[in-house]
């Protein structure tokens, strides 16, 4: 089947190309990157019959408008941005046919932050170091999508999925596994984390979810020699306010990590808005 292109009429606040990212290069200082709400991006790909590694568009707070040069199945998941295709309202999280020249428009989602648009065949922007993901920290990968951008599409790899795809996960407290540097904090730090309702700060982005709340006091005050950081690490800088590291996090860091958010809960960090409240649950409990 012939490949085509996706023309971006309006890109909104921030739209990036994302796939599974480029893990395995942290030792060279390259962030892993990839879709922030990974289950939503995976669902969108399944719905249109794409392989799991196909690239999608990650749309921040809606405002995207695109047309394609060829007919393709499309699906929108993640933050529930109102979807219009050719002026007609369409449902989310299901495959919808987008005819050539027909306009697809995503409005502002009433909740959540990031919506995912999958197109049959995937967005075929040139890969960099094995991935098409835009990394906003280090600038690896394609630049953020701008108004007027023309993105190549790959050849469709399969038919759209049936409607009964797995249910999206349900939100809840972020399960936190203590360590590796929980011993740098006061003995009651984990209880404080568990008992605090943190407020999401506006400086949150693809690098990290920044939280406001009573500072977590440290008992060790020396500098931590730089060490490797993982996805979901809850790093505590000198101001005592936790930052949950997301896909574009720096691969090494010099502030202690009090715990790590369970991988299955990280999608929530992609959908929390500034001002939203979030809690941690210490796992295993007790």
């Amino acid at each position: 089947m012939s490949t085509g292109e996706l023309r971006v009429l309006r890109a909104g606040v921030l739209t990036t190309v994302q796939d599974l990212g480029r893990p395995g290069l942290a030792h060279l200082g390259v962030p892993r990157s990839g879709a922030l709400d990974a289950p939503a991006a995976a669902l969108a790909n399944r719905l249109v019959g794409n392989r799991p590694d196909a690239a999608v568009l990650e749309v921040t707070l809606g405002g995207l408008e695109v047309v394609t040069s060829v007919g393709r199945w499309v699906a929108v998941t993640g933050a529930p941005a109102p979807l219009h295709v050719g002026g007609t309202a369409r449902g989310l999280a299901r495959a919808t046919w987008l005819a050539p020249g027909e306009r697809l428009r995503l409005g502002a989602p009433p909740a959540g932050v990031r919506s995912y648009l999958a197109v049959g065949g995937g967005v075929a922007a040139p890969p960099v170091l094995g991935s098409r993901s835009t990394d906003v920290l280090a600038g690896v990968g394609p630049p953020p999508v701008r108004d007027g951008a023309v993105l190549p599409l790959g050849a469709p790899s399969g038919p759209p999925a049936a409607l009964d795809t797995p249910r999206p996960p349900v939100p809840g407290p972020l399960r936190l596994l203590p360590g590796p540097r929980a011993d740098w904090f006061a003995a009651d730090a984990l209880e404080r984390l568990r008992d605090t309702s943190y407020v999401v700060l506006p400086a949150s982005n693809r690098v990290g979810l920044r939280l406001d709340g009573p500072p977590l006091p440290r008992v060790r005050h020396e500098e931590l020699p730089s060490e490797g950081m993982v996805l979901g690490a809850v790093q505590v800088p000198p101001d005592g306010r936790p930052v949950v590291f997301l896909a574009d996090h720096p691969p090494t860091g010099g502030y202690p990590v009090v715990g790590v958010v369970a991988r299955e809960d990280l999608w929530q960090c992609a959908q929390l808005r500034p001002g939203d409240r979030v809690r941690f649950a210490i796992s295993p409990a007790g």
Partner: protein, 195 residues
Amino acid sequence: MRIREVGEHAFLVEVDDAGSALALAAWARTTGVEATDVVPGAGTVLFDGVAADLAERLAGWPGPSEAAPGGLVELPVTWDGEDLDWVARRWGTDPDGAVDRLCGIELVSAFCGFAPGFAYLTGLPAELAVPRLETPRAQVPAGSVALADAWCGVYPSASPGGWRLLGRTDAPLWDVDREEPALLAPGTRVRFARG
């Protein structure tokens, strides 16, 4: 060696120093220890995306003495950095003397971080350590050769930075189209020269 759990999928292994971390990371790669990422740090190695038997595998590490030396890169540098005079005074010499001193040391890339291809070079004697700037510069030019504590680094791209600037090099430090994108990947030996 102490192994700390990092979430469900990773372990942080504490070793004596950056040299040991580099040696352990190199050993893990060459002996096929299963991990998505093996990330040496200043005194640790992070194994991310690992099999559960990591501790057993690491018990086979013969120790830091087994590290095979990496390739040598010579970097020609124009020594006109804004902090060269300051560093020279701190070292009790003049700019020429400081450059001679630095060019006489073989450094080793211990780990990368901060930015793609930004290598933390170790080998500077402790008495030459310098504090970081109290207020980082908003913009440090690409190719800047700089010091902080006993680390030496070369900025692969322009960025904010708090290290003391000694000079600059035109060497291509980072190129995503090269098979090895980082010129100074961990383990690489480095010598500065007058360029």
